[in-house]
């Protein structure tokens, strides 16, 4: 038995039968041998079935992208570091608690190239490594080392024991003297970055850490640039997490000039910090809105009540400082250095 001629015969008869009207088809099939007739008949029956919707499996294609890559397991080594546990994971890679050779804790950021689809991720990662390494300041997270390992690109950073200001602010209003001290530290960090010619470009509570010892640290210099134009879409899609999450997160701290597509300057960072200080001092975000569009409009047009109208104990100088930081005209804003000095002076008095 040679199956190949039989298949060709089946194929020929199948199409012949398909083209015949019902009665003639029956007659034609009746004239076939039993085995051949069974083959052709069963195929014709299947032809009229709607069992197999032969369309591409779109859901499956979407679904498979949902799967997260496997995290590294405790004890695994990346360069000279031993992984302890996974801290966070996002579109921009993973952060692990790891130990250096001496057993000290480090935060290990890892970007596994082959698992990362976002082409911006690698650029962003390299930018962060470069910018943060160039900055040495008590209020900027210290980068120990960065490079490429078989597991991917990595940055080993100072391990910070504390929480982001998002968490701090969610816990309730801060004591005023404390808020001013924290603001002074954050402004001091920006001042140092600006003196080094580096813009942060993504200042928001999620990127500012309050350590348990009271020290404030700015992190995530992944969008840092030296005097290059910033575009809103670049910032929004470049930030960590999902688009929707990052858009709403970042948009709230985005200066009006960036929304309009203008070039970011040090004054843009000052504005974002001003928004953060407003929220920290009053517990209210100056540009909060129901939808991204509301926020857009608020940033462009809302008349923001001075912080003292919401919390009378706030010193006049601080009230004026924050209002100037939020000026829609970048040139009229104070420098980060000035902001740091005003806040530090008031924090000491309080």
């Amino acid at each position: 038995m040679n199956p190949q001629p039989a298949w060709e015969e089946i194929e020929r008869l199948y199409f012949e039968a398909l083209n015949l009207p019902e009665a003639e088809r029956k007659a034609m099939l009746a004239g076939l041998g039993p085995a051949l007739r069974d083959e052709v008949e069963s195929l014709l029956r299947a032809d009229s079935s709607d069992a197999l919707p032969l369309s591409p499996p779109v859901h499956m294609a979407a679904d498979l992208l949902d799967a997260q890559p496997d995290a590294l397991t405790p004890g695994q080594r990346v360069a000279g570091y031993e992984v302890d546990s996974l801290i966070s994971v996002g579109g921009m890679g993973e952060v692990y608690l790891a130990r250096d050779a001496a057993g000290r804790p480090v935060a290990l950021k890892l970007l596994r190239r082959h698992l990362i689809a976002n082409p911006q991720a690698v650029d962003r990662f390299e930018t962060e490594a470069r910018a943060a390494s160039a900055l040495r300041h008590p209020n900027i997270v210290t980068v120990y080392e960065s490079g490429e390992s078989p597991e991917g690109l990595f940055i080993a950073m100072e391990w910070l024991d504390g929480s982001t200001f998002r968490v701090v602010m969610d816990a309730g209003a801060a004591e005023l003297a404390q808020a001013m001290d924290w603001g002074a530290q954050a402004a001091g960090a920006l001042s140092a970055a600006h003196s080094a010619g580096i813009l942060h470009r993504d200042i928001k509570p999620e990127n500012i850490i309050l350590c348990k010892n009271g020290v404030v640290k700015i992190l995530d210099f992944g969008l840092a640039r030296q005097g290059e134009p910033a575009r809103p879409e670049e910032i929004s899609s470049g930030a960590s997490g999902t688009i929707s999450g990052s858009l709403s997160g970042t948009l709230l701290y985005m200066p009006p000039e960036i929304l309009r597509g203008e070039t970011a300057t040090s004054a843009s960072d000052v504005y974002s910090l001003g928004t953060f200080l407003y929220e920290l001092a009053t517990g209210r975000h100056p540009f909060a809105g129901e939808t991204p569009l509301d926020v857009f409009e608020a940033i462009e047009y809302r008349v923001v009540p001075p912080v003292r109208s919401l919390r009378a104990a706030i010193p006049l100088e601080v009230d004026r400082l924050i209002s100037r930081m939020l000026d829609r005209v970048p040139d009229r804003r104070p420098t980060a250095t000035e902001a740091s000095e005003v806040l530090a002076a008031r924090a000491e008095l309080a």
Partner: protein, 198 residues
């Protein structure tokens, strides 16, 4: 310099073009080297598309393949035939991706490990689709033994999401042939699956 840009996996364009040419010239081992490259690229594109859009209906396999083609093949110097070959390889890679994933999903479900609580109405559809994909893949392997071209037509249309004309173009046959192959293959596959899973 913190990061050295290295040629190799990150810049596979030249390699893909070379392998496509080798394959077109009859080197069958080139195909085995091509598929993983295309596979990785499709995965990357799909992941990115997913993270950007988060919408099922925007993820068409054929769009992924087109993008992979633009990315991997040296489009300016590619011949029409190169393009056809690339599409043929991509559909095979897409089939592997989808089948592997579908199997994973079914295994997760059976093992009960996949404790992903979801009220998403798409979930039952996804599971049904996973079972369907695996069944079709297995039936297709059987058809391949009998009539490789018909199996290829189904692979390109179902797994690659290619249209009739694109499939004809990629296989170098007429539209009429693809239509006929498609119709008989479909009947054959339905019959086969009914017999395997009554």
């Amino acid at each position: 310099m913190f990061f050295e840009r290295r040629p190799g996996p990150m810049d596979p364009q030249g390699e893909v073009t070379m392998l496509l040419t080798a394959w077109a010239n009859g080197d069958q081992t080139a195909l085995n080297k091509l598929i993983p490259l295309v596979y990785a690229e499709l995965h990357r594109i799909a992941r990115r598309a997913w993270s950007e859009q988060q919408q099922y209906n925007t993820l068409q396999p054929t769009a992924l393949i087109n993008e992979a083609y633009l990315k991997l093949a040296n489009v300016e110097n590619a011949s029409f035939q190169d393009r056809c070959h690339f599409f043929a390889v991509s559909c095979t890679a897409m089939r592997q991706i989808l089948v592997n994933h579908a199997r994973q999903r079914l295994a997760d479900k059976r093992g009960g490990e996949h404790v992903k609580l979801s009220l998403d109405e798409a979930q039952p559809v996804v599971h049904q689709e996973a079972a369907e994909i695996v069944a079709l893949h297995e039936a297709l392997e059987a058809l391949q033994a009998i009539d490789p071209r018909k199996a290829k037509v189904v692979e390109m249309r179902y797994f690659g999401g290619l249209g009739i004309e694109e499939t004809a173009e990629a296989l170098g046959v007429s539209v009429g042939t693809v239509n006929r192959d498609w119709r008989l293959a479909r009947s054959w596959l339905i019959r086969h699956m009914n017999r395997e899973n009554p």
